[in-house]
């Protein structure tokens, strides 16, 4: 049953959705607070190279994961400093973060080449299997469970973390006072300030949190999914995340559904290609398929007012 095409596609969709949900949850929290960071692509790439470098030099995947989270959080802190403290334009700064990360990761990769650690040492990456430390027999039993085996247990470790983080973010936003504050930061920062909430400190904190999550997503790509680094390996994924946050109408549930939907269509295009549809339809159509569907769905959706009201604006408005 687990070999059925539907199950394979669903499992691949989860695998593809993990970095999208991780980075997307962080971006959603930051955007809810009024911070529009278009530099996710750069944060992901930073996570990729830092994760790789940490794992290669430290000889341990956990060091890589920590390095990825720290490096991307630092880059996000730079963004926060520039936009919140220095009041630079958020879009321009975000694009600068992207460019910085492209150059920085490329340089770090050249250094890795020169110093001879271009390959991860054996066992310095996370292998497939959701819970680290379980015995092989237990892992095998879990992943052979019908349907939920491939979908839930035959994934990489961060899939579990993704579920926990997304659930926590949902709970925070919907059920707690912190959620009210985060919403208010993006809708009415003046009111927040009047209630004694340090608007700028909150925004900086959320941007750094978003950076850390994007860093983890980058580490997922380099030290979990492919066990190595190649320049620009994110291939525009950061911009997909940006679209998916909007697509999910700034709700965690919407975001997760959008990411999984994107994953399904992405996996589907791989299977359609290999089943001979290439001869009829140009392969570029398949590659663009997830993006085309996202665009059509976005355009078809009713324009709601569910987004943060003051997204991308510095606070205080007048100085």
């Amino acid at each position: 049953m687990n070999d059925a095409l539907m199950v394979v596609i669903a499992a691949q969709a989860v695998t593809a959705a993990v970095p999208l949900v991780l980075a997307g949850t962080g971006e959603l929290l930051a955007q809810r607070a009024g911070m529009l960071n278009v530099g996710i692509e750069g944060l992901l790439l930073t996570g990729c190279i830092a994760g790789f470098t940490g794992a290669a030099l430290g000889g341990c995947a956990w060091i890589g994961l920590a390095a990825a989270i720290i490096a991307a959080a630092l880059l996000a802190a730079l963004f926060a400093w520039a936009t919140v403290v220095m009041r630079c334009d958020q879009i321009v700064t975000g694009m600068a973060i992207n460019l910085l990360a492209v150059g920085g990761s490329g340089t770090a990769w050249l250094v890795a080449q020169g110093q001879g650690y271009a390959e991860l040492p054996a066992n310095a990456g996370f292998s497939r299997g959701i819970v680290p430390g379980l015995s092989d027999a237990t892992q095998a039993w879990l992943r052979d469970l019908p349907f939920i085996g491939p979908l839930v247990f035959d994934q990489y470790g961060l899939a579990l973390a993704m579920a926990l983080i997304a659930a926590t973010a949902w709970w925070l936003l919907v059920r707690t006072r912190i959620g009210v504050i985060i919403h208010a930061l993006g809708d009415a920062p003046d009111a927040c300030a009047a209630n004694g909430i340090a608007v700028r400190r909150w925004r900086v904190g959320l941007v750094i949190l978003a950076g850390a999550l994007a860093g983890a997503a980058g580490a997922y790509l380099s030290i979990m999914r492919t066990h190595g680094f190649s320049p620009l390996m994110t291939g525009g994924m950061g911009f997909v995340v940006l679209a998916l946050v909007i697509f999910g109408r700034w709700h965690v549930g919407g975001l997760v559904a959008a990411c999984l939907g994107f994953g399904v269509i992405d996996a589907l295009q791989s299977h359609l290609q290999s089943r001979g549809l290439n001869a009829v339809i140009p392969y570029q159509v398949f590659q663009a398929l997830p993006f085309i569907v996202a665009l059509i769905a976005l355009a078809a959706m009713r324009r709601g007012t569910s987004g943060p009201r003051l997204l991308g604006q510095a606070w205080p408005t007048e100085r």
């Binding site: 190649s230 320049p231 290609q273 290439n278 392969y283």
Partner: protein
């Protein structure tokens, strides 16, 4: 005094001849373990042998290639090798207005003023196809390419023809992802395995990591039904990801080609046209994985590969065109 000085200057000029300045423009990263890395290694070989001065540009896109070529020309370079089919049009444009020599790799059409280097890997791919057709249990093979450009399509056609020659009912699924994104090529290879494909051939650059990773994971999960893979362009048989499951590689001997072009510039015999590298010239060959010879690669398979090679060289066997 002045005369001595002039004489000395002349003397110096004659004996410190300017070294040959060669530029290399790569479409991808020179650490891709394939097409671009091969070019970097080849140009470094040329640098050593001809004592040339070498500059390498990585990840150059088609729209930037013209500017980079003009910049090289302005810097007084003697020869630039634009290493990729996509550079053909910009190279032909620049060549019309400069004395700098330009060679374009991976193209099989002539353009005025430039040398195009055609690497016909289809014959070596045919030999890999012979191995695949013999070894496949399911009769289903997979091919993943960076983009369906002529040289990649030729690999696919050769592979298909070789496999069908030994087992007529074989099918080869064909998919194109991206040259440099291992995440995508891995997902594609997983999709291949899900439909029962047990042998995969690739023609991608840095994305080959994704293909090998998928093979490694599949074999770790399901050792009873092993899947195998072929390398392309560079000799990838010893790739550390899955060295025991790479049966063979279709290899381009790029250093010989690059050296010949560079020498023709030195000897002032550089002439526009197409340089055709192939199995006959011994520059595009199938290299079997020595670790697997005698076990999976049985003497019968080796004989079949050799027989196909002889027929291809003799011209009695021709890879069908589009």
């Amino acid at each position: 005094m002045l005369r001595t000085f002039l004489l000395l200057t002349l003397f110096c000029c004659a004996y410190t001849a300017e070294p040959l300045k060669i530029g290399l423009i790569c479409s991808g990263s020179v650490t891709d373990g394939g097409w671009n890395q091969l070019a970097k290694e080849a140009i470094e070989q040329v640098k050593k042998e001809l004592k040339a001065e070498v500059s390498i540009l990585q990840k150059v896109t088609q729209d930037k290639a013209g500017d980079e070529l003009r910049a090289y020309a302005a810097d007084g370079y003697d020869l630039v090798i634009a290493h990729g089919y996509e550079f053909l049009t910009p190279a032909a444009e620049v060549a019309a207005g400069t004395t700098m020599k330009i060679a374009v790799s991976g193209a099989d059409v002539a353009r005025p003023g430039i040398v195009t280097l055609d690497f016909d890997v289809s014959q070596a791919s045919y030999q890999l196809g012979v191995i695949a057709g013999t070894l496949t249990k399911s009769g289903k093979l997979g091919f993943v390419g960076g983009a369906p450009i002529p040289s990649v399509k030729a690999c696919y056609r050769g592979f298909l023809a070789g496999a069908r020659a030994v087992r007529p009912d074989v099918s080869v699924a064909e998919a194109y992802t991206s040259w440099d994104e291992p995440v995508k090529s891995k997902q594609q290879t997983e999709a291949f395995f899900a439909q029962g494909i047990d042998l995969v051939y690739h023609d991608v650059d840095a994305a080959s990591r994704g293909v090998f990773e998928a093979v490694k994971e599949r074999n770790a999960r399901n050792p009873a039904k092993p899947v195998y893979v072929f390398g392309c362009v560079a000799d990838q048989n010893a790739n550390p990801i899955c060295p025991d499951h790479i049966l063979a590689s279709a290899v381009i001997r790029l250093d010989a080609t690059f050296r010949a072009v560079a020498e023709s510039v030195v000897a002032k015999t550089f002439a526009a046209g197409v340089v055709r590298e192939n199995l006959q010239r011994g520059t595009c060959v199938a290299v079997l994985n020595p670790r697997l010879i005698g076990t999976i690669l049985t003497p019968e398979i080796l004989a079949g590969v050799e027989r196909a090679g002889k027929q291809l060289v003799a011209g009695s066997l021709i890879i069908p065109g589009e």
